[in-house]
């Protein structure tokens, strides 16, 4: 049992479809009204069927009032670190602190290259992501003098600092493999894998935790401060059938189990169905919170 005692967050993973134009925004509004904590959007700039995710997030932020928003996750190879830092900080200030930074090292390199960006090997991509995080934090920091990061893949020489985000913004990284997980342990604030990519199901989280915790400890960081997150998908149905396929009570038990067993504290539902989003917010989230709180109180 690994429970880091993190407060629980529940969110949606919304397809940033460009057709119908406002569908993704409307789903964010549904999630906002339903009381979810997070509205997140995938980022595949090489696919024209999707909106530009950052533009969508900025626009959706204007149409919502309470919910926090982030990429899930933004494709670093097609977005520059200093611009990511400035744009996130800008929107965080405009929204009064509702923005987090979800970042990925890049997944579909053919698409990335087709758009005109460089192709990196998996190892290079980890290094590049580490450098990017360094630049982003440097832009946000209030230290004197300009940013100077001289990396192998990113150089920021004399970039002006600021603006700083309105709140202590988290950097959440989509990751599965050891090198990336170790980077998270050293430098990021959360890990954000998708359940559908975990071959062994939620149990794979044990290995994810192991890598992150070891690396955090080695870097002198507190493992419990690194948020464990999970994109999930499932079906609400009349009677329990299998993991996340059943009524809301069963979902709650399934998720509470993952929270208590692996310390996962953020569940992000991949769905474009308003009814499912509402059921997740209204029936599942409170029940998970209750189950987890009861267990933690023991």
């Amino acid at each position: 049992m690994t429970d880091y005692g993190q407060d629980l967050l529940f969110g949606t993973f919304i397809t940033p479809t460009a057709q119908p134009v406002h569908q993704a925004v409307e789903l964010a509004v549904v999630a906002d009204r339903a009381g979810l904590d997070l509205a997140t959007f995938q980022d595949h700039p090489y696919l024209p069927k999707f909106h530009d995710t950052w533009t969508l997030i900025s626009y959706a932020a204007a149409r919502t009032t309470r919910i926090r928003l982030s990429g899930n996750v933004l494709s670093l190879p097609l977005r520059q670190p200093a611009v990511l830092a400035r744009s996130h900080a800008s929107l965080d200030r405009l929204t009064g602190g509702r923005i987090e930074l979800g970042l990925g090292a890049g997944a579909f390199w053919d698409g990335i290259e087709a758009m005109g960006a460089r192709r990196l090997t998996p190892g290079q991509a980890v290094t590049a992501l580490g450098e990017a995080i360094e630049i982003i934090r440097a832009v946000w920091s209030s230290e004197p003098g300009p940013v100077r990061v001289n990396g192998e893949f990113y150089q920021a020489d004399g970039v002006k600092r600021g603006p700083a985000p309105a709140h202590d913004m988290s950097i959440w990284v989509g990751a599965y493999k050891p090198r990336m997980l170790r980077l998270i342990g050293r430098a990021a604030d959360g890990v954000l894998p998708s359940l559908s990519y975990l071959e062994g199901g939620p149990a794979d989280y044990a290995v994810i935790n192991q890598h992150i915790d070891d690396s955090a400890v080695a870097a002198g960081r507190e493992p419990a401060r690194i948020r464990r997150m999970l994109n999930i998908n499932g079906t609400f149905s009349g009677f329990g059938k299998s993991f996340l396929n059943g009524p809301a009570e069963q979902w709650a038990e399934d998720l509470a189990g993952v929270a208590l067993e692996h310390g996962v504290s953020t569940f992000i539902l991949a769905s474009d169905d308003p009814a499912a989003i509402e059921e997740f917010a209204g029936d599942v989230a409170p029940a998970v919170r209750e189950l987890v709180a009861a267990e933690r109180a023991h």
């Binding site: 479809t17 460009a18 057709q19 024209p48 069927k49 969508l56 626009y59 744009s87 005109g116």
Partner: protein
């Protein structure tokens, strides 16, 4: 002046942007500060409704140009076509080319751009923005000015940084570069950042057409309003757009009300309106009226071009109706799409022709009502409710037109009339089955009926003996209670694979036992491969079309229709031969009969009331389809025009029995003697 004068405001916050919007400013522009300007602009877009949006200068180095193109398309779509893109930085020629290449979604093939500084191997294009996003360039050095002259849609300068004299020189350089590049310099907007302490005369002396005021407190526009009102037209089409115009169309004589929404071949929106669901098209002009009065004007334009093809369109699902064409005029009623409840006690509703049937179903659902239309939710009210409407509840509730109480329509002479059982009764008779020959219906009044949840069965059955299957299915349908309507779909035999048929049925009952009891005899006609029976709102059955997007039909469909009373063994054998020919890829039988047959044949222009079945085939080669179809002809008694692409006089005679046709021809002579309405089963007017 070629352009309409515009006034904008430099803003730094939502509050200022909203203030500018309230004051009637045309646009707001953010100038970069410590914050990311694109983020601020997107945020402002989400907080405003109407005002144009720009950044005074977006550093092109901040984004991969391809990503910038996508981002621009997104913001333009999300904001409803309000974006202008002003760029600063290096290699702007290349960046502009790439951004435009991404935005040009209608262009075939990926974007390949082997620039010196920016290389794009093969980026997918799109999404298509909401309007043609103007790209403004900056920079006062000769190279920047020349670039603006060669490629930009606008050039932006700040009067704090250039003097009025330098401005004159700059405009000259831009003009020279434009003409060297064979462009009309008038295409390039001149945007100027100024302090608002100038009179109208001083402003107009500067030679710009867009003024962005830099002011702590925004002035209202009264001092300059006259200047704006006396300036050029609000729609400006550059030569590159005008060059795609087709012959014989008086583009520049459109009334202002139509000009604002009209689409011509060079326009960005052309991709969205040129084709329909079933056909590819290349019309010369698409008019998009938004009111009945504008429909009157649009029909006048069509009347003024008698030698060109003319198509009337509602939601663009015409099979028989040529609602697109090549080089002609299309009047699209898509914007007339309201759905209103007129009288809740009598279940009276009023629907615009541009509404889609799935939208109607969703609007009626909260009342527990429905109106049977067809089997596809994307089909429009306009085309279907002027022809018939063979839908999922046809045997129980009859055709869609059987629930029509009245229409408002614009006739060929431009008059707007109401037709109902008591007003213009002949027209009302004609509209219900041959409406496309008599006018443009601008609203329909229906009486909806109560429909609770319904049973929806989708079965796949073995068709080892297809002829036998057809006959037994036909008998089962005829024996079924009227609650049940349905259809059968069969494909050509595929070597080495078992033959099967898809059977669908809707049972208008919310009682599971009744549903099973009524579906059972249908399911029992052959061994079942698959079955799914669900209880669903009627709206759930018809919500089967995608939202968003636009029609991208290509080519010309071939579809044949026949109405038949009983599926006899001889007919079934002929069908088996037709399927074996391989000429058709789609074979479908829909149920009519029941309540459809309760209505006397002479009550509406849709007259073939005795048929129990409507048979449809589609194929790609007209010749082969016709040859195969010929074997079935003797079994039919008439056709349903909505599924027939052959428009010959013989088919018109198949659609309308002699007495009906004779009456229609008399009415055609009375209401449309010059044959304005001719895109769908054209009826020849009786001799004068």
């Amino acid at each position: 002046m070629k352009h309409r004068l515009r006034f904008g405001a430099l803003v730094t916050s939502v509050a200022e942007a909203r203030r500018a919007e309230e004051l009637g400013y045309d646009l707001v522009a953010v100038s970069p500060d410590e914050r990311d300007p694109w983020t601020l602009l997107s945020w402002i877009a989400g907080h405003t409704e109407r005002v144009g949006l720009a950044v005074t200068g977006l550093d092109a180095a901040d984004r991969e140009p391809t990503v910038l193109g996508r981002a621009a398309a997104s913001l333009d779509l999300l904001s409803g076509g309000r974006l202008s893109l002003a760029l600063t930085g290096e290699h702007l020629g290349e960046v502009t080319d790439i951004v435009r290449g991404v935005l040009d979604a209608d262009q075939a093939g990926p974007l390949r751009y082997p620039g010196e500084h920016h290389r794009v191997p093969k980026a997918q294009r799109g999404p298509l923005p909401a309007h043609r996003i103007p790209i403004w360039l900056t920079g006062t050095d000769p190279a920047s000015l020349a670039l603006a002259g060669r490629t930009a849609d606008g050039w932006i300068a700040d009067l704090e940084q250039v003097s009025a004299d330098e401005l004159v020189t700059a405009y000259k350089i831009i003009e020279a570069a434009a003409s060297e590049a064979d462009r009309d310099a008038d295409e390039i907007r001149r945007i100027l950042i100024v302090d608002p302490d100038r009179s109208a005369a001083e402003l107009s002396a500067l030679g710009a057409d867009t003024f962005l005021f830099r002011a702590a407190v925004l002035p209202d526009l009264t001092a300059w309003e006259t200047l704006r009102d006396s300036s050029g037209p609000s729609v400006f089409r550059p030569a590159s757009v005008r060059s795609k115009r087709r012959d014989g169309i008086a583009y520049d004589e459109l009334p202002a009300s139509l000009a604002a929404t009209a689409v011509e071949p060079g326009d960005l929106d052309y991709a969205r309106v040129r084709s329909t669901y079933m056909r590819g098209g290349a019309p010369g002009l698409v008019l998009r009226p938004t009111t009945t009065a504008e429909v009157v004007e649009a029909l006048a334009v069509a009347r003024a071009h008698p030698e060109l093809p003319f198509g009337l369109r509602s939601a663009g699902h015409g099979v028989s109706g040529r609602s697109t064409n090549d080089g002609g005029i299309v009047v699209s009623l898509a914007a007339l799409n309201t759905i209103e409840i007129l009288d809740e006690a009598r279940r009276l509703i009023r629907v615009g022709p541009g509404a889609r049937w799935m939208d109607v179903a969703h609007a009626l659902r909260p009342y527990g009502w429905a109106l049977s239309s067809g089997d596809y939710g994307g089909v429009g009210v306009g085309g279907l409710a002027t022809a018939g409407g063979v839908g999922w509840l046809a045997r129980k509730h009859g055709l869609t037109i059987d629930h029509l109480h009245a229409v408002e329509m614009v006739l060929a002479d431009g008059s707007v009339v109401r037709a109902s059982a008591t007003e213009n009764a002949d027209l009302f008779w004609a509209v219900r089955g041959a409406g496309a020959n008599f006018g443009a219906v601008t609203s329909f009044e229906f009486e909806a009926y109560e429909v609770g949840d319904v049973g929806f069965a989708q079965l796949v059955v073995a068709a080892d003996d297809p002829a036998d299957l057809l006959v037994t299915w036909g008998r089962a349908i005829e024996a079924a209670p009227r609650d049940l309507s349905g259809q059968l779909i069969m494909g050509p035999p595929r070597p080495g694979q078992p033959a099967y048929a898809q059977l669908m049925a809707v049972v208008d009952s919310d009682d599971p036992e009744t549903i099973i009891e009524q579906v059972q005899p249908i399911a029992a006609i052959a061994p079942l491969y698959q079955q799914e029976v669900v209880l669903t709102p009627y709206a759930g059955v018809i919500s089967n079309a995608a939202d968003g997007g636009y029609h991208q039909g290509v080519g010309e469909p071939t579809s044949r229709s026949g109405l038949i009373e009983h599926l006899t063994p001889a007919f079934a054998r002929a069908v088996v031969k037709l399927l074996a020919s391989g000429a058709v890829h789609w074979f479908q039988i829909r149920t009519v009969g029941g309540a459809v047959a309760d209505v006397p044949a002479d009550e509406t222009a849709y007259a073939h009331r005795s048929a129990n079945f409507s048979v449809i085939v589609m194929g790609s080669s007209k010749q082969r389809v016709d040859a195969a179809w010929a074997g079935l002809a003797e079994h039919f008694d008439g056709l349903y025009l909505s599924f027939e692409t052959d428009q010959s006089p013989e088919r018109v005679a198949d659609a309308f029995p002699p007495a009906t046709l004779a009456r229609l021809r008399e009415l055609k002579l009375r209401y449309d003697p010059d044959n304005l309405f001719r895109d769908n089963f054209n009826i020849k007017a009786a001799a004068r």
